[in-house]
């Protein structure tokens, strides 16, 4: 490899002829060097340029984006050092970290520094291969006062939300595969006082969130998908346009109301979940155009058809719709009695 690289190097240097040993690259202004670094494959390659000469010692600290993807020897402390190193560092627009089976201490090491520096988007993905439920400490999320987007996919680590602080510029928050500690005040964090600009919120494949109460003046899109164990859902969102609640409160077993939704501007409702008008209170949706109700089992034994009521009851609520997305499920007859398969059929009705 070293030999081949040497040949390439000789080849690339040769056509210059007129270069006569002059270092044109290092003479470029910082912003152009940063632009060149941004075209490299990853942050590690960009950071290695600090090894060239004194001129290059701190060029990489001017990078507005940093990405650390499954680097074999990189840990949370190394990332913190990189984020923390430069005093004169450029504003950080984007940071992405991907780890494999990391414990909460890994992200805990760098998240506070990222919270201080980041003025754009945070991406943290913790892939899990070993799915044993470790009883780790929670990952403490600091308050990101300047970040605009936060995407956390933490592989079912416990997540503790910051008790104080305002996410003043946050417009998008995505939480995937999170284990919330009960009682969790996610609702308090994402509601207007602490997230005054939040437009888009998505929580999916998560556990431990029993009560969620959102009062938001800014929220436009909200999606809750497989938030296991959700018992009480309150949404007061005057400009919400799109709401998706998918398989969150199916395990409803109480006699109290489980959902109260007030979203007078709602246009699109995806409610694939428990629905009984006695327990689920949907406000008036005068602007509503599209509805996607729970799957309707068109063919199958009676015991699996009892949830068809969710679909029918929800549809009875509306006199007219512009568009209806209906998913029909068919149980397939299999030669093998233990194999139960379904196929689904999506229908869309639209009126003009």
């Amino acid at each position: 490899m070293a030999q081949r690289g040497g040949e390439l190097a000789a080849k690339a240097a040769k056509p210059s002829g007129d270069a006569a040993g002059e270092d044109r690259l290092s003479a470029l202004p910082d912003d152009l060097l940063v632009l060149i670094l941004l075209h490299l494959d990853d942050t590690a390659e960009a950071i290695r340029t600090s090894y060239f000469s004194r001129r290059w010692r701190r060029v990489w600290t001017l990078l507005p984006v940093l990405r650390f993807d499954l680097l074999p020897e990189v840990n949370g402390v190394a990332i913190r050092r990189i984020l923390d190193a430069p005093e004169e560092a450029a504003p950080l627009r984007w940071i992405s970290v991907t780890t494999l089976d990391a414990g909460p201490e890994s992200a805990a090491a760098w998240l506070p520094v990222a919270a201080r520096r980041l003025s754009g988007e945070l991406n943290y993905h913790n892939l899990r291969v070993k799915m044993n439920d470790r009883d780790d400490e929670d990952l403490q999320l600091p308050c990101f006062e300047k970040a605009t987007t936060i995407k956390l996919d933490i592989g079912f680590l416990g997540l503790a939300l910051p008790p104080h602080g305002i996410f003043g510029r946050l417009t998008e928050l995505f939480l995937w595969r999170v284990r919330f500690r009960s009682p969790s005040d996610l609702g308090g964090v994402v509601s207007s006082p602490r997230c005054p600009c939040l437009k888009k919120l998505e929580v999916s494949n998560s556990r431990g969130l029993q009560d969620l109460s959102i009062h938001s003046e800014s929220l436009v899109r909200l999606k809750l998908e497989v938030v296991r164990g959700l018992r009480h859902l309150t949404i007061m969102a005057p400009i919400l346009q799109k709401l998706g609640v998918v398989r969150c409160i199916l395990a409803h077993d109480s006699t109290e109301s489980v959902a109260n939704i007030s979203a007078p501007q709602l246009v699109d409702l995806d409610w694939k979940d428990f629905y009984d008008p006695q327990y689920v209170h949907l406000g008036d949706f005068e602007e509503l155009q599209q509805v996607a109700p729970f799957y309707f089992v068109a063919y199958g034994p009676p015991d699996i058809r009892d949830k068809n009521q969710y679909c029918l009851s929800l549809l009875q609520r509306f006199q007219a719709l512009y568009c209806l997305h209906l998913t029909l499920m068919y149980r397939q007859v299999s030669a093998h009695p233990s194999v139960v398969e379904y196929c689904s059929c999506k229908l869309q009705f639209a009126t003009s």
């Binding site: 190097a9 040993g21 950071i47 001129r55 680097l71």
Partner: protein
């Protein structure tokens, strides 16, 4: 740029005539003149766009004292080629680098355009593109430079670009330890 008001009516007439032409004339530091499509120049260069809009384009050749004739010829060539090329659809890729800004990969002709340049001509063109505020040309040339660095060790890159290693042995060791993880594949 402020136009000298003392030149009177002749100046005004000339400016009207200039506004009607569909090319502009640019003059290199060594006095050579080049014609370039006004539309392409305005679209590709923020500086030229500003000069055209502000009426500070000189019919006898707008002086670009910072740019030599070889580099200016390449700039003009690039603008004219760009004006005649049909952009290919959807080559926007984020896999090409870790940059999040969508970067449209160089078109085949852009690749050839920078590949044929000598080492010095490439850097002259980078500087000219920077001076003229030509974002796309800067991206294409900087992309080319990054490709000359990819997959090489620091020593090999120093050799390609004639970078003089002015660190002491101790400093190099210090950097290596501080950023050990970034050197993991050595």
């Amino acid at each position: 740029m402020e136009v000298d008001k003392g030149k009177g009516e002749a100046e005004e007439t000339r400016k009207v005539a200039e506004a009607d032409r569909d090319t502009v004339t640019l003059k290199s530091s060594d006095g050579k003149l080049f014609e370039v499509s006004k539309e392409a120049a305005a679209r590709l260069s923020t500086v030229l766009a500003g000069m055209i809009a502000g009426g500070s384009i000189d019919d006898n050749g707008t002086d670009l004292k910072q740019i030599g004739s070889e580099a200016l010829e390449n700039v003009v060539d690039y603008c004219n080629k760009h004006a005649n090329s049909i952009p290919s659809a959807a080559l926007i890729s984020s896999s090409i680098s870790f940059n999040t800004a969508p970067f449209k990969e160089p078109e085949e002709w852009e690749r050839k355009f920078v590949d044929r340049l000598s080492h010095d001509a490439l850097f002259d063109l980078v500087e000219a593109a920077n001076f003229l505020g030509m974002e796309r040309l800067l991206d294409v040339t900087c992309h080319k430079i990054s490709e000359m660095m990819k997959g090489k060790s620091p020593d090999q890159i120093r050799e390609v670009f004639n970078i003089k290693n002015d660190y002491t042995k101790e400093e190099l060791e210090e950097i290596r330890q501080e950023l050990a993880w970034a050197f993991y594949d050595d």
